[in-house]
């Protein structure tokens, strides 16, 4: 493999990083001088990182300036992993949510009005999975927390539909997050509304003239709509409308049809304000985004290394095969999360011996991401199981997709065996039954209706959960597939 040879070709010296000047790959070398992408496109160095760097210098590099520092290559790679893994895996907040400036501004203003002016409000952030809903909210809250007035005033309650699965649990969590457990004590309330009202009352300021504003964040908002009577939602929206207490409700959801889930009385109390995160990204922007996500921040301790790394990233994103792969990914999904998964696979292959991401890495990573799992599983079936699948395929063709049972499949298989002289595949019915059951366990076949549990196993009606292409691919990849079986299969595709 190319990757291996390039790793072996490098004669390795610790404190002098020679990799990029060496002819690792022709394309890398020829473009070694390419300027790093616009600084505006790069994520600015984060405060956190700066702090980290700072300490780092004191401990290791004594008092040299960042740009001239030289770190051993092992340490640089270490840092690369540290920084990029946080970006790809962990929910590291970007300095600025990219491409969401308008939504960011809108949300900041909305929440500020609650926090500073005590206005109530409700809003839904709607966008597909991984589009950055949680990130947007968190970055808005981060920015707001820098304003002392907001910080001093605003109370926050964070709920998640995955965790607070009913309103009783949710109420307990609200009480806890508002630090009111002691105030509530053993008190018993008649209704949810009464309880919530009590909590909000308890938050009144010293002079008791006005309540402190509370922000309710409901992640996976749609799940709250499944709670009994939508009590929590009803009460939150009700308070937010009736100006009992300043309350902002922010719901995050990936369901576009979320409003249809709400009961009428709940819906009518909601402000109908929605912030949509629908990506209208063009491909060239997507490429910029890939580059930015892979690039190292300016604050990186070793200036030389950053320069080389970022140049290599730029080169990478100009490689023809890479662009092709990215185009395919762009066509299937444009969100950050699936991009991060792809880049994570690339990053995992960066090591001291191979201190850059090569086009081959990206191609392999993409292959891993788009691999057809079912075809992968078909590869590991026994010959007998494969034969049964082919027989099912034949049956599907003959009976136009009507469900089948084991007897029919076995019969079809026998027809094939009769045409051959060898008895290599003559298995007893129970052995075939076991193979059939294995296919069912792998969920490659499925009972046609659930009520048939009472019928004998060999007569239970089943459906094949594979399509034409998957079987075809499996046959081609199957190790040492006997030709007669292949021909038999092909006759079904004729």
């Amino acid at each position: 493999m190319g990757v291996l040879t390039c790793a072996a070709a490098i004669t390795y010296k610790p404190l002098q990083r020679v990799f990029f000047r060496q002819p690792i790959r022709g394309d890398l070398q020829s473009k070694a001088e390419v300027v790093i992408s616009d600084s505006a496109e790069l994520p600015r160095k984060s405060r956190h990182f700066h702090h980290n760097t700072f300490r780092f210098f004191h401990t290791i590099m004594s008092k040299r300036k960042a740009k001239d520092a030289h770190l051993p290559i092992g340490e640089c790679i270490n840092q690369v992993h540290q920084i990029l893994r946080k970006r790809f895996c962990h929910q590291q907040l970007p300095d600025k949510p990219e491409g969401l400036e308008a939504q960011h501004k809108h949300l900041v203003e909305l929440l500020k009005r609650t926090a500073v002016h005590g206005e109530s409000n409700s809003v839904l952030i709607v966008g597909p999975r991984g589009a950055g809903k949680t990130m947007l909210l968190r970055s808005v809250l981060r920015d707001l927390s820098e304003e002392t007035e907001v910080q001093k005033n605003l109370l926050q309650v964070h709920l998640n539909g995955l965790l607070q699965t009913d309103d009783r649990i949710a109420l307990k969590e609200i009480t806890r997050q508002l630090h009111l457990e002691n105030v509530v004590g053993d008190r018993v309330f008649g209704s949810f509304a009464e309880n919530l009202g009590f909590l909000l009352d308890a938050l009144k300021k010293g002079d008791r003239s006005s309540s402190r504003p509370v922000l309710f964040v409901l992640d996976e908002f749609d799940l709250f709509a499944h709670h009994k009577n939508q009590t929590l939602l009803y009460n939150l929206f009700d308070v937010s409308q009736s100006a009992q207490a300043p309350l902002a409700v922010v719901g995050l959801t990936c369901r576009l049809d979320v409003l249809e889930l709400l009961e009428k009385r709940v819906k009518s109390r909601f402000s109908h304000r929605q912030i949509h995160l629908l990506s209208t990204l063009t491909f060239s922007h997507y490429l910029d985004r890939v580059r930015a996500q892979l690039s190292l921040p300016d604050g990186f301790p070793d200036g030389k290394f950053v320069e080389e790394w970022n140049a290599a990233v730029t080169t990478l994103c100009e490689d023809k095969s890479v662009v092709e792969v990215l185009q395919r990914h762009y066509n299937s999904s444009k969100d950050f999360r699936s991009l991060h998964m792809l880049l994570m696979l690339c990053l995992s292959r960066v090591s001291v011996a191979k201190p850059a991401i090569t086009p081959a890495d990206l191609l392999d990573a993409s292959r891993l991401c788009v691999a057809d799992a079912k075809a992968n599983m078909l590869h590991g079936l026994s010959i007998l199981e494969l034969c049964l699948i082919i027989a099912m395929k034949h049956l599907n063709d003959v009976y136009e997709g009507e469900p089948f049972n084991l007897q029919m499949v076995h019969n079809e298989f026998k027809k094939f065996l009769q045409r051959k002289s060898s008895s290599l595949y003559n298995f007893e019915q129970p052995v075939i039954m076991k193979a059939f059951e294995h296919l069912q366990q792998l969920e490659l076949i499925r009972p046609a209706d659930s009520s048939s549990a009472k019928t004998q196993r060999e007569y239970q009606l089943m459906r094949l959960m594979l399509d034409h292409g998957q079987i075809m691919e499996a046959l081609q990849k199957y190790p040492q597939c006997p030709t007669d079986i292949k021909q038999w299969a092909m006759s079904a595709f004729a």
Partner: protein
């Protein structure tokens, strides 16, 4: 500054231990002496075109000696182990929030993960979804393994996900992860039957608890069958392909018996695979079969009749034996213990072992069962032809509708009402015995024995319907014992 939660999670990374840095430098300088060994680079995809080097795993974050020990245990899984290790990264760095490892049974999923966890001494907890019948057990196990018994005892009686996440966060803020914590879920397909929120919550546990924790799911079902309707955090998918015949040979050969040579055992495995590989590729099952039948293989050698090298004679001796094993042990018709005992006696008992032929029935019951079989597999309109004494010259063609494509023996038994059963019964019993009232109790005992099934008859309470649930082989054997030629009475065989 950032929001407080943000700071918490960054804490472990900030305090980058000085010792580690130096030890890495030392490691690097040391490596300068010898030419660098290529890091294990993992070709993606897998399958037939795998080109990997049989090499040691290498990663700067882990002890070399330990990695060497790990590599030794993972023969034939080098590619997957390498990929997994590179994704895990250094212990103190972040790993992707959730990994989904899928592959056929006994393809080494648990083996690889467990060897990593144990031998690299990573903080982890392994949970089998079979054993964890309730989420309470799961939560308790995780908290106990990561934070000790005291933390686990904080859980309330029937804990919710909300409780679990709250306690986890509280504990991890007191003792933040210095190394990635891993939660390994075996047989993850069972998570789909648990609380609907459990799987999505586990997949994004890193985000929910804000800790360096990673969830590894192991399953033999493909990921597509897990994804909830509204989507979820997508895990990184890793495929463990099936072992090829050569690899199975290699792994199984390592179990050699101390008193025989390695070649001898290896040739035994070769023969064993020759018989079982077409139907079974399950390493665990093959290993069991190998252990069970080895003594039989050695017999002629131990008796001095055949030399170890004489593979052909050994093959002739063992092959029929293995074929028998396929009928019985493989299908679990007898337990391994029974098999060993049977081997000792070597009686002819093996022949008819298809277990249920041994069922002893009363004389009438046999006829009832025969009648039931006929009623299930013959169309009702043909009863006249078979059972009317003087039906005159009704020809077969009179009721043959040969547009009926499939035979009744392919479609399975049809339900029939009680009166039809009795009518057929009286005609097949003929005048040989007088009917008695015990007929009805015999019918119900046939149902208890599951030779007949009672088909639900909710709409017509007065006439229950039955189906015959035995195979043709079985009913033929029964018929022979009462001198009844059943084939003559079956429509399918006219």
């Amino acid at each position: 500054m950032h929001q407080s939660a943000e700071n918490e999670t960054c804490a472990p990374a900030k305090s980058y231990p000085r010792k580690v840095v130096f030890s890495i430098c030392a490691h690097i300088q040391q490596r300068e002496m010898s030419p660098p060994e290529p890091v294990f680079v993992t070709p993606a995809g897998g399958g037939s075109e795998q080109s990997w080097m049989a090499g040691l795993l290498e990663h700067p974050g882990y002890d070399e000696e330990r990695l060497r020990r790990v590599s030794e245990q993972l023969s034939c899984r080098e590619v997957q182990a390498g990929l997994l290790l590179s994704l895990m990264g250094q212990p103190q760095q972040y790993c992707y929030p959730s990994l989904f490892i899928y592959g056929h049974r006994a393809s080494g999923k648990s083996h690889v993960v467990n060897v990593f966890m144990k031998d690299l001494e990573l903080p982890h907890v392994t949970v089998s979804c079979v054993e964890c019948v309730s989420v309470a057990l799961l939560f308790e196990k995780v908290l106990r393994s990561f934070f000790g018994c005291d933390a686990a005892s904080l859980l309330p009686r029937s804990p919710s996900l909300s409780d679990f996440v709250r306690i986890y966060r509280q504990q991890s803020s007191q003792s933040p992860a210095k190394q990635t914590r891993y939660i390994v879920m075996e047989k993850a397909e069972l998570l789909r039957d648990a609380d609907v929120n459990l799987l999505p919550a586990l997949l994004r546990l890193q985000e929910l608890v804000k800790d360096n924790v990673s969830v590894i799911l192991l399953s033999e079902i493909v990921w597509d069958k897990f994804r909830p309707n509204t989507g979820c955090f997508e895990p990184l998918l890793l495929h463990f392909p099936d072992y090829s015949k050569g690899e199975l040979q290699q792994i199984l050969s390592t179990d050699r018996h101390p008193s025989y040579s390695a070649e001898f055992y290896s040739s035994y495995i070769n023969i064993l695979l020759g018989v079982f590989y077409p139907v079974c590729r399950d390493l665990r099952e093959l290993r069991h079969l190998a252990a069970l039948n080895f003594s039989k293989f050695c017999e002629p050698v131990a008796a001095g009749k055949v030399k170890e090298m004489d593979t052909h004679k050994l093959w002739k001796n063992i092959e029929p034996h293995l074929k028998k094993a396929m009928q019985t042990v493989y299908l679990r018709e007898v337990s391994s213990l029974q098999w060993e005992q049977m081997e000792e006696h070597e009686s002819g008992a093996l022949r008819g072992l298809s277990a249920h032929t041994h069922v002893e029935l009363p004389y009438y019951s046999k006829f009832l069962l025969i009648a039931a079989y006929l009623a299930s597999y013959n169309p009702a309109r043909t009863d006249k032809r078979f059972f009317l004494k003087h039906h005159g010259k009704i020809r077969k063609t009179n009721f043959l509708k040969k547009n009926e494509k499939t035979s009744n023996h392919l479609l399975g038994p049809k339900p029939f009402p009680l009166d039809r059963l009795l009518a057929v019964f009286y005609s097949v019993v003929d005048s040989r015995v007088a009917p008695t009232a015990s007929i009805f109790s015999q019918i119900s005992s046939l149902v208890t024995l599951q030779l007949l099934t009672l088909v639900s008859h909710d709409d017509q309470l007065d006439t229950p319907k039955y189906k015959c649930a035995v195979s043709l082989d079985f009913i033929s054997a029964i018929s022979r014992t009462v001198n009844f030629d059943i084939v003559k009475y079956l429509y399918d065989f006219l």
